[in-house]
């Protein structure tokens, strides 16, 4: 059975590796210094999609992302790894969206794609860590959700069997298609780029990106439809202006503060200072912290 698979992906700043160079003199984060990466758990989701495609020849994987026009980078990356194509949902009107407005916008794009069997995405994105968009899209589409997926065990007869990783164990569920499955970081890693695909799709670009290519490359893209990454706006997916972007977001950020920890006056010891370490242990025993 060939499947129509949608993978939700997000381009995120790499918040996991905030190195010293990313800190400004005042202790705040220099966001521009953080590289934009493929959200890690979305790669785990892509791998599950690719496995479904391997097992069901003729299936197609469409990657959907919402963000700035440069988010086409994640679609290209997914194509190099085996996805068939993708859509960048990008529009100034979508800016300032919270998870609910984001889910609504993405659900509208999913409806526009239409005729899907399964929607896969990472459990959460590392810039927000909310894990809300997957279940909210499922609700907007009126379909079931399976979160914290570690492995798609089986897909047949209109049903998908999924192993979920919970706090204290594993649960296996069977859900009817179509449904949304959000994939955990504990799932299999995504396969690397395929060298042949990298060659073939090197010039896969969105219309915004195409505009900055030299003319002969533009002509090349025009002649090869498989190199065209779609770019959709809010009107194209028939989004209600009241439900997108800042106006469509029930949550508002009141204040944002940089985290600054008050430094304490610490007592310093060297690892080789046995007497000092013994004194410390004695002190902790005396004041009943240990023992």
């Amino acid at each position: 059975m060939s499947l129509n698979i949608i993978v939700l992906a997000k381009q995120v700043p790499d918040t996991r590796n905030v190195g010293k160079d990313a800190m400004k003199a005042d202790g705040t984060i220099n966001r521009a210094a953080l590289p934009a990466i493929f959200n890690p758990e979305d790669l785990n989701a892509l791998e599950q999609a690719l496995r479904l495609k391997d097992a069901n020849p003729g299936s197609t994987i469409t990657v959907l992302t919402m963000g700035l026009p440069k988010s086409a980078e994640v679609i290209r990356e997914a194509i190099y790894r085996g996805a068939d194509g993708g859509i960048v949902l990008t529009d100034r009107a979508l800016g300032g969206a919270d998870t609910l407005a984001t889910s609504y916008s993405l659900a509208q794009a999913v409806k526009k794609i239409g005729n899907y069997d399964i929607i896969l995405g990472g459990r959460q994105a590392i810039d927000g860590d909310t894990a809300q968009v997957g279940p909210q899209i499922a609700e907007k589409l009126g379909i079931p959700q399976v979160t914290y997926a570690e492995e798609i065990v089986d897909l047949k007869d209109g049903k998908v069997t999924v192993k979920r990783r919970l706090e204290h164990g594993i649960e296996t569920v069977v859900a009817p298609l179509p449904c949304v499955v959000t994939v955990n970081g504990s799932a299999a890693d995504c396969r690397p780029r395929n060298a042949k695909r990298l060659m073939k799709y090197k010039y896969a670009v969105s219309p915004s990106e195409k505009a900055s290519l030299p003319e002969e490359k533009q002509a090349l893209v025009d002649g090869r439809p498989y190199l065209q990454i779609n770019e959709w706006g809010a009107d194209f997916v028939e989004a209600d202006p009241q439900q997108i972007g800042f106006p469509g977001s029930p949550t508002k950020v009141k204040t944002v503060e940089n985290v600054v920890f008050t430094a304490k006056e610490a007592r310093h010891l060297e690892g080789a200072d046995d007497a000092g370490i013994e004194d410390l242990i004695k002190e902790l025993i005396t004041n009943h912290t240990i023992g």
């Binding site: 609910l100 860590d129 809300q132 279940p135 296996t172 569920v173 950020v253 060297e270 025993i285």
Partner: protein, 342 residues
């Protein structure tokens, strides 16, 4: 006009017990409800719920709603979502709180989407306060401040939901303190008819296998925590931390980097995406001190940092800094403890 609608806590069940995270939220919920002058309500959905209210009332709930049906345990997304969506339309709570667990983080977003209400995940603090919209200049009284780290823990944001109700938030286990409000406190039990809140069509996802282990790890309640970071270097080196923990009667914790590197299981992760701990002694071994980790242990009474980098960020919040390799220092701690104890 201040909102006089109530505050509700979704109580998660674990083998017939109300989960700790829910009791922690009831404790926080009681404080917030008192501040607002409203009732604290609790909702329990599951099967064989007879007497479950006895676990909830001591934490200060005024009302316990129960939805009892054998198909409602273990948790599945759609039936529990339907109960919350239908009940919230009826009783219109101003605030709804749930655990930031695999259940709460599955349920919360689905409910918030259906009700078009704002939801803030993984709050580390909840307060009541006023708000003035920067654009419209409209004033709002007594909103729920949903305070959470963002951007990998590098910033803390205060989120409000000015217009939409309920104001929803999830909180991780161990972040709020669990405290008995009054052991003799009693409230009202309201048994809800499952058929009125859940449709048969909601039961479309079947659980065919469940292998849930009783948690062996209790870092949240441990008086002493020995935690390892990426600097521990290997799974084998973590054994040293277990040796120290056994000597001191401590639990072993870890930073996200150590968990991601596969040195140790996720259950032991401390920090913004793990548990929050407040032990009397925290021994950090080979932990550099990413903000997301510090957020989960900074309230420890005494912090010892063992690191070969004298400039490790965690040293800034430590009481004692031992500069050296943890492979050398940890055995010394064991040796001198054994020598000097009793």
């Amino acid at each position: 006009m201040a909102d006089k609608n109530n505050l509700i806590v979704y109580c998660e069940l674990d083998e017939g017990r109300v989960a700790d995270v829910s009791l922690e939220l009831l404790t926080k919920g009681r404080q917030l409800a008192d501040r607002l002058g409203v009732k604290l309500e609790a909702l329990v959905i599951g099967s064989d719920l007879k007497g479950i209210e006895d676990q909830i009332f001591p934490y200060g709930a005024d009302v316990v709603y129960k939805v009892d049906d054998k198909r409602l345990y273990p948790y599945t997304s759609l039936p529990h979502s339907s109960v919350l969506i239908n009940l919230f339309k009826e009783i219109e709570p101003q605030i709804a709180l749930m655990g930031a667990t695999c259940i709460g983080r599955d349920l919360g977003p689905r409910v918030s989407s259906a009700l078009h209400s704002g939801l803030t995940a993984d709050c580390t603090s909840l307060e009541i306060g006023d708000h003035t919209d920067a654009k419209t200049k409209k004033d709002y009284k007594d909103l729920l401040y949903q305070i959470r780290p963002a951007f990998g823990g590098n910033i803390v944001a205060t989120i409000v939901n000015p217009e939409c109700r309920p104001q929803m938030a999830t909180v991780r286990e161990g972040v709020m303190k669990k405290e008995i409000y009054n052991p003799d406190h009693k409230g009202v039990v309201v048994d809800l008819d499952p058929a009125k809140y859940v449709k048969d069509e909601d039961f479309v996802v079947d659980i065919i296998d469940r292998q849930i282990a009783k948690s062996k790890v209790n870092i949240k309640g441990a008086p002493i925590v020995v935690a390892g970071g990426y600097g521990v270097g290997s799974k084998e080196n973590f054994q040293l931390l277990f040796d120290l923990a056994q000597t001191l009667g401590a639990e072993v914790g870890a930073s996200r980097a150590a968990v991601d590197a596969g040195f140790i299981e996720h259950e032991r992760q401390i920090g913004q995406t793990g548990v929050t701990v407040r032990p009397k002694l925290y021994i950090a071994c080979g932990i550099s001190g990413q903000i997301q980790h510090i957020a989960g242990m900074q309230e420890s009474s005494i912090i010892i940092s063992i690191n070969n980098d004298p400039n490790a960020p965690i040293n800034a919040i430590a009481d004692y800094v031992i500069t050296g390799n943890m492979e050398d220092v940890v055995p010394k701690l064991i040796k001198y403890y054994k020598k000097n104890s009793k």
